[in-house]
Symmetry: C2
Subunit: 345 residues, 2 copies
Amino acid sequence: MAQQHMTQVLVSPNNLSRAPIQVGILGFGGLGQAASRVLALKTEMRLTAIADHKGYAHNPHGLSADASIAACHAHDSIGYLETDGNLSNNSIRELIHCAPDVEGYFLALPNLPNTFMASVAQQFINSGWQGVLVDAMKRTSAVEQMLALSDDLKTCGITYMTGCGATPGLLTAAAALAAQSFSEVHSVEITFGVGIANWEAYRATIREDIAHMPGYDVEAARAMTDAEVSALLDQTNGLLTLENMEHADDVMLELAGICDRDRVTVGGIVDTRNPKKPLSTNVQVTGRTFEGKRSTHTFTLGDETSMAANVCGPAFGYLKAGVELHRRGLHGVFTAAEVMPKFVR
Amino acid sequence: MAQQHMTQVLVSPNNLSRAPIQVGILGFGGLGQAASRVLALKTEMRLTAIADHKGYAHNPHGLSADASIAACHAHDSIGYLETDGNLSNNSIRELIHCAPDVEGYFLALPNLPNTFMASVAQQFINSGWQGVLVDAMKRTSAVEQMLALSDDLKTCGITYMTGCGATPGLLTAAAALAAQSFSEVHSVEITFGVGIANWEAYRATIREDIAHMPGYDVEAARAMTDAEVSALLDQTNGLLTLENMEHADDVMLELAGICDRDRVTVGGIVDTRNPKKPLSTNVQVTGRTFEGKRSTHTFTLGDETSMAANVCGPAFGYLKAGVELHRRGLHGVFTAAEVMPKFVR
């Protein structure tokens, strides 16, 4: 009898893997393409749907990451993918409609303008589709828009995981864990280093970073031509230095009851000309223990892990956790600070 | 309308705090006493029940940590606590019976013999009580005994959080998070440093550590007199060096689907004569990213955080998470690697 119980427990992590979870990716720039490569190594998830601004592709038996990326490089849209691709001016809406078996989508879309991701969530709410959505959004105001949709998402049976990339996401969760040793959390300091060999592979992400710099905002950064971005980077030797960024780690940790948002700071350095990180990405959580001692826990990411690995890995880990919540009937908005991501094999 | 949704979301972390969660502590040695001091700083939880091997105390309006600890120091049992204390040879069973409003217990008991904690869980199963149990057990074999009880615990409406101290617990969860950046996890290495000024305040814990040393086992360590422990420590200048310990981090990470248990190693150094840690406790997770890069994430605990802070904080964080699961009807055994602990204010 004990043996039987044990077996039942031991198979639980694999419950989800009986049939691969059908997963879609919305947005197929640098991040979306990296996400497709991450999924190509997974047996528990299968990439069956992709949409970008000009088209979409769908195949319940799976889409090839290589072929999808090649189609985009050749023709600038997944809609040109042979056999499975379709050009469309309403790619997300059409994909939702034609791919009802997709259980979860990673929204690898640039949130430009700052209301775009919320408008995509609204499209899902209107569609009648039920499942899991995951974003890796960065801004506090963007995550707050999603929190405001929580009741609507709950009502229509969608489990929405917000702020589930690297930061916010992996590092926010690490901060939430680190806080456990303390009776009071004094500060959470997130410092990231990003190195990319060629910023033109991450056009949207770089513009989101520029939008955090003094004198810029989301609209101004979005309107920049590639030549203007290049000119800006020439002035700084390719480095973007970011301080006191508007980052949703703050609202997420506040919502989790860990500390007020003004105790959370996020900053970092992006080197757009060197794949080596200018510093090791880390989060430091300082607090006071029940004995009155002040101390700091530190979580540091290995320099060899790319932004893509640190964003896409957690995003799919939270997607898997979201699928478990969804299958248990738990809908609405959850953040990376309150749910443990699940490892996707 | 959006404002209304937002308010509803924003109050969610405080849902549990409307009435403090009534919490009990089983075992009132060094760890249990530290746990009572941790609870004394919380408004979301109230300590209302304590049992040790000779008695118990219960007061739904709250027990004073100071008075409880003083009673134990003066008379060697909480049963001598004025007004609320009772001497008993069946303290746990009697306490469960007389304190039905306790929603969660922290089992701060030494797991000596190695089947003791499972026998306590069995007492709860037999009692008809429903609620949350949390342990901070260390050994793989002990956690496996609890996993074997999962169906019985589920049937009788108990949510049991196992391996929820520092290691396993906080560091296991940090490893589960760190794994998210990798397609494959090669190794999880946990190295702890513990410094205590006076081992006699942690008699049971030190014997559990000695039991991990070559030439010792749980029974042999348990049978040692204080004089024998002192003599052993004299030989090593007060240091206990532990390698390849039987630690449940391995089975917990395997169950979470992160890596096979043989890739998880736990070791450390305990200095029994110095509150300063001989090394900084850390977990290193090494893996391969989807791009084929090998890298290591590191989570390091601040030296000023004591073993008690790193065990009791997470234990109550998992207890709060367990209460949420329990109130949603999710019963059975959960580990620290699969649930995010909640911050207890």
